[in-house]
Amino acid sequence: MKKRMSLLLAIMLLTISVLAACSGGTAEEPNQGDEGTQQETPNTNEGENTEEPPAEGEDESQGYFEAEDPAANPDTAKNRTDTLIVGMTSPKGVFNPYFWQTAYDKYVVNTVFDTLLEVSGDGTYTESLAESVEVSEDGLTYTYKLKPDVKYSDGTPVTMNDYLFAMKIMLDPKYDGESDMMSLNIVGADEYKNGDATEISGIKVIDDLTVEVTVTEATAVTRDYLGDVALLPESYYGKDFKKGDMDSLKAMHDKPVGSGPYVMTKFSPGQEVVFEANENYFKGAPKIKNLVYKTTTEETRLPMLQSGEIDMDMITVSEDNVEEVKMMGFIDLNIFPTNGYGYVAFNHNLEKFQDQKVRQALMYGLNRAEIVESIYGIYANPLNIPESSVSWAYTDEDVEAYEFDPEKAKALLEEAGWAAGADGTLEKDGEKFTIDFSATADNPVVEALLPIMTANYQDLGIEIKAETLDFNAIMDKKDQGNFEMFFAAWGLTPDPDNTVYITDGAQNDTGYSNETVDKLMKEGKMNLDGPEARAGIYKQMYQEMNKDLPNLFLYQRRDGWAINSRVNGLDITAYKDFPFSLYQAELEQ
């Protein structure tokens, strides 16, 4: 009897974990999850010269909203004169620029370490540790020069030997971080990674302050990505480092040493990360002496802001949250377009989705404005091209807005040869038009999308059959090509180049193929003349995508930081995370 009890319990435990598995996957998807996982590349959006989103007159959905009643600040916050407390989801303790696993680990990394180039507010890169960058005529040789006399917080000087060390880590055969240096085609990288070479022939340290990197093939992002490398002291990290053995580095994940604006003094897992200002910071000593990253959860963010226990946190931008924050009176809000978008994917290998007219009909026939409004209120807008409205590559010229128009949709379907059958469902060559929709469980977007989509499409004579699955299960189906339609979100990198829409691209798992898109994406990638020249190419590409519809572009929502009004001087944009401007932040006394 008793033995049976124990087994029963163990099985119960299992069932619980499986049940949990079935509901857990998407919890964060529509919020921070999609951005959190991507390899963001820094952008410095200093001059807030963002274009307006396509939906007209939506100023109140984004921008910087000053607090109306700063005097209402609670004493808890006011009395904390030399400490800034930032609330965030708990970092995991992987505080190494080449190994971090979550966006929150990355916040710590960006506070403790510096890169040669860093992102500005508009998604382009500017010099940080680097003094200058030179690119050879043929675009194959990149020379980075360091600013002189920069030191790590342990006193050792920053040199380009550390750059070589960084590359050796990221090209190590056992490297399990996410940086993908192989994609940059550095000369000798393959011999180092997959062969016996002990040096990388394409990386030459000319002197302490100069490094020269040679590549076999250059692209538009080579200069930025080679420069977006954080430097850490080889004297500290390299003590026991051997090629093919990452263990010595792993032991140092929670004891980082870098050259950044703050020095980490304490890490309590699940509770807080404590920093002290780096008085010798090369951009100038930070004005706030102490910095704490305190763990918060979705439930406690707003209460903690209200009580003054934290000074700032990233909030889910919804009408309720924004209103609540504004009611507090002493909190500034910085709301900007999320670096990503939600979409409904088609399986392009299925015949019914191969006709451009059918895809256009599905776009016209879907009331996207209503869906977006019901989920995010004013804090999202329907999107017509797969690019952020604040990117330099964005365009709304000659872009069809696909306003809800069932009549047009019906006409297009008819042109495509679909006619109503006996029961009102559309038919073509004896095949009924039904769509199997793989719906993510517990996803607020899907919950709002599905009923509207089902009703809208029924009106056109198309039947939606929904099957609810865990997020990971859908991703699995996607990888196997075993799906018809699903909802998901993509995070965007500052650079528009990606492989999502090119034929057989690494990320293209919907089978989409369009020669014009392939050609223009390649042209944009290979153009070394900078953003202005490339923007024209991407404009054409997005116009083509807008017409051809690789998927149903749904919406771009907003991200927002709630910041206590006593904090001044931060510069946060869709591309530039808050750690990059911490050194210039001030507390009002």
């Binding site: 099985i11 299992l14 598995a21 399990d176 993908d180 699940g270 406690t300 009580s307 990971n472 998901a488």
Partner: protein
């Protein structure tokens, strides 16, 4: 007795092997792995394959099981993919925070449950009994996140007596007594809520078992020989009524270390429950499997302990 314990410990081995196969099989049937869960937009197919090879995710499940079980046999649970640290170290970092809350709420809820259970059995259907029943069911049926948020609103936001969440004040450098008081203030609400939730069923349990016992003949005999009512209830009746509670005690062992997922989120308590839930979401299999096995072992040991204690406490049961 010693023989019995050794035999039971040996019997645990096949049970554990069975559990490990089950747990592993279920986890490998669940779609997706750490790489798919990341859904990184900039990761190329080659990079994905490379990472899967480094993590050993590219091998067939049977081979993976034997690697995993083999390592586990020598005490190596592997490295957590998300924390990039040994699983045992991650468990050790978080589990004691969960233990603090679970331990104190266990003590409080048992003390409260024993007294209220006994009294409401003694005065069955009295006003006191009805009030206790009402209160107990109220606490049991309100979801923990609701009570938690309500208490935060009242005690932390409106009255300002207690902090909202976390385990210590941010950036606090207090040590010794100061640290203790700080943790005490932060743990007050979570312990309160956990006690409220778990007291309910225990109270009902003790009440029932007490009601059964006080109808027995030997209680009548005790009263007949002129013993004081207090002696009858607390000495003769309670001791017998507590016997089934030993079994309950055994089940509390895994609960002490299992963490309280929802409560930890509401109060931002740095416990293991949240970490466990997250490991399932991101498919951090080494941690998820390691912690499940850890709980399974605790369950088995808890069972063994309660069996042994039962034998010691109840002369009618003889362990051989």
């Amino acid at each position: 007795m010693k023989q019995y314990i050794i035999r039971r410990l040996l019997q645990m081995i096949p049970t554990l092997i069975g559990i490990s196969i089950l747990v592993f099989a279920i986890s490998s049937m669940v779609p997706g792995d750490y790489i798919t869960a990341k859904n990184s937009p900039s990761m190329t197919a080659e990079k994905k394959a490379e990472l899967r090879a480094i993590y050993g995710l590219d091998k067939p499940p049977v081979e993976r099981y034997f690697t995993w079980a083999g390592n586990m046999a020598v005490g190596n649970l592997g490295d957590s993919l998300q924390h990039k640290q040994p699983v045992t170290k991650v468990i050790n970092t978080y589990v004691w925070n969960s233990f603090i809350i679970a331990f104190f709420s266990l003590i409080f809820s048992w003390i409260i449950a024993v007294f209220t259970g006994v009294l409401s059995a003694k005065f069955q259907y009295s006003f006191f009994d009805k009030m206790v029943t009402l209160l107990v069911f109220l606490c049991m049926s309100l979801p923990s996140f609701f009570i938690g948020l309500l208490l935060i609103k009242v005690f932390a936001l409106e009255l300002g007596w207690l902090p909202i969440g976390g385990m210590t004040t941010a950036g606090s450098k207090a040590t010794g007594w100061g640290y203790f008081v700080d943790v005490l203030e932060h743990s007050f609400l979570p312990i309160l809520v956990l006690t409220m939730i778990s007291t309910g069923s225990l109270t009902r349990y003790f009440r029932t078992s007490m009601l059964e016992v006080i109808r027995q003949d030997y209680i009548r005999t005790a009263r007949a020989k002129g013993l004081k009512e207090r002696t009858v209830i607390f000495k003769h009746a309670l001791r017998n009524a507590m016997l089934p509670a030993i079994t309950l005690m055994g089940f509390e062992l895994p609960a002490l270390f299992g963490g309280a997922i929802i409560l930890e989120k509401v109060f931002v308590w740095p416990g293991i429950g949240q970490v466990y839930l997250e490991s399932i979401t991101v498919r951090d299999y080494p941690f998820m499997l390691g912690f499940t096995i850890f709980l399974a072992v605790l369950t088995l040991i808890g069972n063994l302990i309660s069996d042994v204690l039962y034998g010691a406490a109840d002369p009618r049961i003889r362990l051989k």
